[in-house]
Amino acid sequence: MFNKLRPVWLVAGRELKDQFRDWRVLTPMIILMVCFPFLMNEFAKQTVDFLNQYEANLILDRLVPFSIMIIGFFPITISLVVALEAFVGEKERGTIEPVLSAPLDDWQLYFGKLLVGVATPLAASYLSITLYLIMIVQQGLEIPSFSIMLQLILLTTAHATLMVSAAIVISVQSTSVKAANLLASFIVIPVAILMQGEAVMLFWGNEDVLWLAVAGVMIIALLLIRVGIAHFQREYLLGREIDTINLKWVLNTFWKNFMGGAHSIGEWYRKVLGGAMRRVLPAVLAVTLVAGVSLWMGYDWIMVNVSPVIAKASPERLEKIEESAREMPGLANLQDTINAPFLFMNNTRAVALIFLAGLVSFSVLGVLLYMLNIGLIGGVYALLELLGLQPLPIFLAGVLPHGIFELPALVIGAAVVLYMGVAIVTPQTGKSMGEVIIELFADWTKIFFGLVVPLLAVAAVIEAYITPVLLAGVVK
């Protein structure tokens, strides 16, 4: 094992030496590392003075952890500079070929670059945080608890890993440093949004949710590393010399994959869509299993969290809730307000949203959204049960008729997203990352328009015109 890892240290060590000899990397890192804690400290002081006037102690409690998070983040922004040019920079300088010609495995080369990309900025980040903590102690302010400090350190580490792993994916796939720098906005903007979300969680004071954020960022970072290694091809680094947007090639590749050589709609459904569905089948089975788990989770969550509330409620209050529940759907007027096109658009948007969320997170967020949708059904079932209504007949009348079409559409929609996520992180020899993504997008388009949309259309018609009638009969 040590022998296998030795080349990783070797590549990282050389890069590290190179970094420490490059003033363009060192200077901003030192400035960010040393100056930012002082600036942040001054900002915190001013804020404390201001907030003390209004006795906003809660915000004050959270100001130090927030400052630590920001201080930790700034030095790691330099990691982008280092990581973005990890491969493409060497390619531009002509130093990549001797290294690629050496007996190094792809993963050794990749991890060597990744390690140094994360290590240096992270070291600067930890030093910056330490400096700030020293200032806090000197001012007699309270250091955050061990648990919060651990969260902040892990979060900083997760941010650095996320940014560097994404930057290295870009570096491998780009043909010039300029292109890589332009693509860096795909890292900076989402991470900035993520930081805002984390800051909200921090001020909100919900530590459990912050742990989820740490886990989520780490999972995405690990998936990005997997993507990087899966699509790392020596050939790709050497083969392409210039950046051109070959729209014709993109459209041709997509169309070729979308049509699959079919000559009629029947043949397309039978061979092309059938082939795509066969590829997606394992994912369909997986998300079906996930659906079962989500139903149970939704059911269980309501049972655990809502039943104590109902137990404490007075009989009169319960009677009122039950009454309003019976009238809740406004069944009599349902056909006037909720029509088939509305339902169709709503459900199609939900499946498209699962796709979009999955697209930016290697399927993770897409599957989570899907679980939320399915979990809601379990939750509503539990709620009806807690209210003393008979949920089964209501579900048989109110969900089953259109659910026969809608649920498979949802399951297939989520399955394609899962399949795409898995396919992107799986090595595909002989294909560029662009080709893989176009082929996957073609598969999604086939299944979405060929199967999911028709199923949702049928479901919408049933839900608009048949379900209300059946449901009204059961509820009354």
């Binding site: 070797l10 050389r14 190179d18 050496a102 190094l104 083969g239």
Partner: protein
């Protein structure tokens, strides 16, 4: 040591290398000649297991370039088109880094790098940053890197480019020494004089295809025809009386010179000289008409372009 069959590489709709068949034994030097973009670098990259062939196969040092890429890379020393040096490193650090990558023991690494630096006259500059080196020094260091692990196969892209004549001579001597120690060497070069001096086999590549390959003599014979010799006399001499052996064709004659084409020079030339001597010709010079690789190359390329224009 190097064998390829139908070796081909296609990038989208561009055929960079098309059906290349090569065979180079240990102790042989093959020179790949061709214009820029002809497919020489792509061929070398496939032989280094950097690019996967679209069609055909290649074996280098007994390893398949697709199945045993790691072993191929361990057995090959590559001098790339761009020298590929890290400018902020010193020469000592650079050679040591690659020595470590090739898993050479520390003591062997030290002695090997010291030897190479001394051989290429870089000892004094060994502790200077590579960024301060001249072009020629960089080229020499890149060559030292390629030889650091004493590989059985060397793939050298323009080994003497940017070098002063003295350094170029040094490199040529080293390549000849490596050849005599049973290394297999492939050189890509535009320096035809150098190729003439070093190569056992020559392959001319054009638009990814090998147009011609063989020894220098074979190439000259195939492209330029039979060797031609010129006899110069000190005084006017009637050469029409001369009895020439079979396989010798007179091309031109003047009072003081005679030009002939000889089918089998080794057998016929002594007979020609005898005949001249018998005829009491006062021979001032008997020499082969200069036929260079450059002539071969230019003719082959002109013919290829001509064929292309016709098509």
């Amino acid at each position: 040591m190097i064998e390829t069959h139908d070796l081909s590489k296609q990038f989208h709709d561009f055929m960079a290398v098309d059906g290349v068949n090569l065979s180079v034994d240990a102790g042989q030097i093959l020179a790949l000649l061709g214009q820029n973009g002809a497919g020489k670098t792509t061929t070398v990259r496939m032989l280094t297991a950097l690019l996967n062939p679209t069609r055909g196969w290649a074996r280098v040092a007994g390893y398949d370039v697709v199945k045993n890429g790691h072993d191929v890379r361990s057995s090959v020393g590559v001098l790339t088109e761009q020298h590929g040096l890290y400018m902020r490193m010193t020469a000592i650090e650079y050679l040591d880094y690659f020595g470590q990558i090739y898993n050479i023991a520390p003591s062997a690494r030290k002695s090997r790098s010291e030897h190479l630096l001394e051989y290429f006259g870089l000892t004094e500059a060994a502790k200077r940053r590579i960024g301060e080196y001249s072009k020629g020094m960089r080229q020499k260091l890149a060559l030292a890197r390629a030889m650091m692990h004493d590989p059985g196969v060397l793939l050298l892209d323009e080994p003497t480019s940017a070098m002063d004549p003295e350094s170029a001579r040094l490199v040529r001597d080293e390549i000849a020494r490596l050849k005599s120690s049973q290394r297999t060497i492939v050189i890509c070069s535009h320096n035809l004089t150098e190729v003439e001096a070093l190569a056992d086999k020559i392959a001319i590549i054009y638009r990814g295809r090998i147009l011609l390959q063989g020894t220098l003599e074979e190439l000259k014979k195939n492209v330029l025809g039979l060797p031609e010799y010129e006899v110069k006399f000190t005084d006017a001499w009637d050469s029409s009386r001369l009895e020439l052996p079979e396989g010798v064709e007179i091309l031109s004659r003047t009072a003081t010179s005679l030009k002939v084409r000889v089918e089998r020079p080794q057998a016929s030339n002594p007979m020609i000289l005898n005949a001249l001597s018998r005829g009491s010709a006062s021979v001032m010079a008997f020499q082969e008409e200069a036929r260079t690789l450059e002539q071969v190359y230019l003719k082959v390329m002109a013919e290829a372009k001509g064929r292309e224009n016709v098509q």
